[in-house]
């Protein structure tokens, strides 16, 4: 799952050097601002076949939280 998430990050930020850790936050990836966050969430939704609610979209501030949520909600 981390590998797939890494792929989504790399595609979204157009940067093949990205390596994800649980602690990785928006601060660690230069391009990860509030606008790109939306593109990222959208790409995650598509890759893992889930639909986050409006509050969840905003709460995913680091990779660990994202993985936790994916564990429970991912359908593929």
């Amino acid at each position: 799952m981390t590998a797939r998430l890494t792929k989504v990050f790399r595609e979204t930020f157009n940067d093949n050097s990205i390596e994800l850790q649980d602690e990785t936050t928006a601060k660690d990836i230069m391009e990860w601002d509030s606008l790109n966050h939306i593109v990222l969430v959208f790409a995650v939704e598509r890759e893992f076949g889930l639909s986050l609610n409006a509050a969840e979209i905003g709460s995913l501030e680091n990779v660990g939280e994202m993985l936790n949520l994916l564990m429970t909600k991912a359908t593929r």
């Binding site: 595609e11 979204t12 930020f13 157009n14 509030s34 606008l35 939306i38 593109v39 959208f42 790409a43 598509r46 639909s51 986050l52 609610n53 409006a54 509050a55 979209i57 905003g58």
Partner: protein, 635 residues
């Protein structure tokens, strides 16, 4: 589509994107742009479009031969993602867009504050990017009586904003209408109760459309919402989370249609549709199946072709020129037009009919030449993929849409490309297809005359000329902004700029119309003359290429001489500024007897000294006083 197919398509997409990135690293930005263009699809998902946009953002736009355009986006929603996609889609239309987004939800304030950045930015387009949420009219039974007035008041408020913008800026205003939401408390019955949200928003949209005057374009997002489907258009999550105007999935289609609209505002819409015959206008092959054997008529196989013809006829009636390009014997190809009872298109609807066995590339070139319509203003519709491929390869500037195998989807396939967007409709537009029809007849006549002069004389041309008036102003501005080939200086004017020019006493802004025995060509030329000094300066001179080589240029030059003399000028000064498309007129002033006085980086300046006894130029166009009578005769 199976998952397998999806995966392989995703793989191809990734490969193409990687290829584009590689091209950029080799500094082959044009090649990268070509690849991005190839994989772009307005209806593809938001993630793919965002990824293309990201790669596009790393391109050096300076290397792509794009024309700059400045856009101010004033929105009450988050439009950053929309702007990113719009930049890309505008690049595909040939524009390098710089988009300024006004601070969130300050639409009216930005317009009303003359100190706001809007007014220092001086954009080409000011866009009031609104949604139905901005239509703050209470819809409840207590309001039933006053709703009409509330709608009028709101539209009037917007009208004031448009006027404010246009009295300070020379720009086109785009204004979104209301995207009527699917949900309504009344459900089905909503249409029968005056004050329901659905009815209020529809009435508002009608009122807004009526109120829009020249220079204001209503962007019909309600239509886009219904085309996509309102459930696809809406995604409440991204409204609550980040105040996006519509679903992210709808952003691509929205940006694509915006780019087409803006392209049309800049005079780049398509003007001519070239259509094949066999299996395109009718089912089967006329040369093989014969008149009674082709599929055209009232059965499931023939009806789609009837409807396709109806669609083409509707295009023609709004001013799109139709031409035929078919591999056929001409007499056989024309048979259905003349003798098939179910045929909707008649020969008179077709401006140029090219049916022969030569290749289609040459034929399309010939159609372009005969109509004086640029190849980049043409759309070629053919059911045969090989023919499409040939034209795409050899004439890349011609738009060649893919056609589905099933004719029942022809109309949809062509319509979805939004080739023929427009921002105005005049009687000239309506009659244009007929003008061109007459024009093609003229060219054929030309071949039968050995003496050019005899031919011109036989045309019995008469011209009406005059100064700017409110009636002709829209067409004058349209002509200046659409003309590329016969355009000496490449200047562009909005309607309001043109009006300003003509109001200044030193300027003369003149139009010319031309009628001949084949019909009325309408308003075909505009000149902007500056008589501030002893020299009359030709600031702008455009002419429709339809009337090229008919001694209209000489007629116009005579008019300029007349004006120069009346204003006490001793010479006329004309400039030629090369634009890449106006080579046609590089030697115009020389031909008219001007002398070269300066040349700088391709720009040449020409002077005509108004000596005593200077002869008027020879022309076969007769002046205005005979016009009324002659044009009546010609109608």
């Amino acid at each position: 589509m199976t998952t397998q197919e999806e995966l392989s398509m995703a793989g191809e997409f990734d490969c193409a994107l990687d290829a584009a990135k590689c091209a950029i690293s080799r500094q082959e930005d044009k090649e990268a742009f070509r690849i991005l263009k190839e994989i772009s699809d307005p209806n593809s998902d938001f993630v793919s479009q965002s990824r293309i946009t990201k790669v596009f953002a790393s391109l050096d736009c300076g290397l792509l031969d794009l024309k700059p355009i400045r856009i101010a986006l004033l929105a009450s929603t988050t439009v950053d993602h929309f702007a990113d996609l719009l930049r890309f889609w505008l690049a595909l239309e040939g524009f390098a867009a710089s988009i300024w987004i006004a601070p969130y939800d300050t639409v009216a304030a930005t317009v009303l504050d003359e100190g706001s950045k809007l007014y220092t930015l001086r954009p080409d387009i000011t866009w009031l990017f609104l949604t139905y949420r901005d239509v703050r009219i209470r819809s409840n039974p207590n309001n039933a009586v006053s709703i009409g007035k509330s709608i009028d008041d709101l539209v009037f408020e917007y009208k004031k904003l448009w006027n404010k913008i246009q009295s300070n800026l020379h720009c086109v205003v785009i204004h979104n209408n209301a995207d009527v939401p699917a949900e309504d408390a009344f459900g089905n019955f909503a249409r029968q109760v005056a004050w329901t949200r659905r009815n209020v928003l529809h009435r508002y949209n009608l009122a807004l459309g009526d109120a829009a005057h020249a220079g204001v374009v209503i962007f019909d997002i309600d239509h886009i919402a219904s085309t996509l489907g309102r459930s696809r258009w809406t995604d409440w999550r991204y409204w609550y989370h980040s105040k996006h105007p519509c679903s992210l999935e709808a952003h691509g289609a929205l940006a694509f249609r915006s780019a087409r609209l803006i392209s049309s505002i800049r005079g780049q819409a398509k003007k001519c549709l070239v259509v094949d015959l066999d299996n395109t206008l009718w089912g089967g092959v006329i040369g093989d199946d014969g008149l009674s054997g082709i599929g055209l008529g009232n059965d499931a196989a023939g009806e789609p072709f009837l409807d396709f013809q109806r669609y083409l006829l509707a295009l023609k009636e709004r001013g799109i020129i139709l031409a035929v390009c078919s591999k056929n014997d001409e007499s056989i190809a024309k048979e259905p037009f003349q003798a098939h009872p179910d045929m909707r298109l008649r020969l008179s609807d077709i401006a140029v009919f090219q049916a022969n066995w030569e290749n289609k590339v040459d034929n399309i070139r010939e159609i372009s030449r005969m109509l004086n319509v640029g190849l980049n203003a043409m759309v070629f519709v053919d059911d045969n993929p090989a023919e499409r491929g040939l034209v795409r390869q050899l004439l890349p500037m011609v738009a060649v849409p893919d056609l589905p195998e099933d004719p029942s989807r022809y109309v949809q396939a062509i319509d979805s490309h939004c080739y023929f967007e427009t921002i105005a409709f005049s009687t000239e537009d309506r009659d244009r297809a007929n003008y061109y029809g007459g024009n093609a007849a003229r060219t054929e006549l030309l071949a039968s005359f050995s003496e050019m002069n005899d031919y011109l004389k036989s045309l019995e041309m008469v011209s009406a000329q005059g100064n700017t008036d409110p009636f002709n102003l829209p067409r004058m501005a349209q002509l200046i902004n659409k003309s590329n080939q016969f355009h000496l200086t490449g200047t562009r004017f909005s309607e309001s700029e043109l009006r300003d020019r003509s109001a200044q006493p030193n300027f003369a802004v003149r139009y010319f119309k031309l009628a001949d025995k084949f019909g009325d060509n309408g308003l075909i030329s505009v000149v902007v003359l500056d008589a501030s000094n002893k020299q009359l300066i030709v600031e702008t001179w455009v002419m429709s290429c339809r009337v090229l080589g008919r001694t209209m240029e000489e007629f116009i030059c005579n008019d300029m001489i007349e004006i120069a003399r009346r204003r006490g000028c001793t010479s006329i000064l004309g400039r030629y500024v090369p634009s890449g498309k106006n080579k046609l007129v590089a030697q115009l002033y020389e031909r008219l007897g001007f002398s070269l006085v300066a040349a700088d980086q391709g720009t040449t300046t020409w002077q005509l000294t108004l000596k005593r006894g200077l002869d008027k130029l020879n022309t076969f166009v007769a002046p205005t006083d005979q016009f009324e009578q002659a044009s009546l005769k010609h109608v």
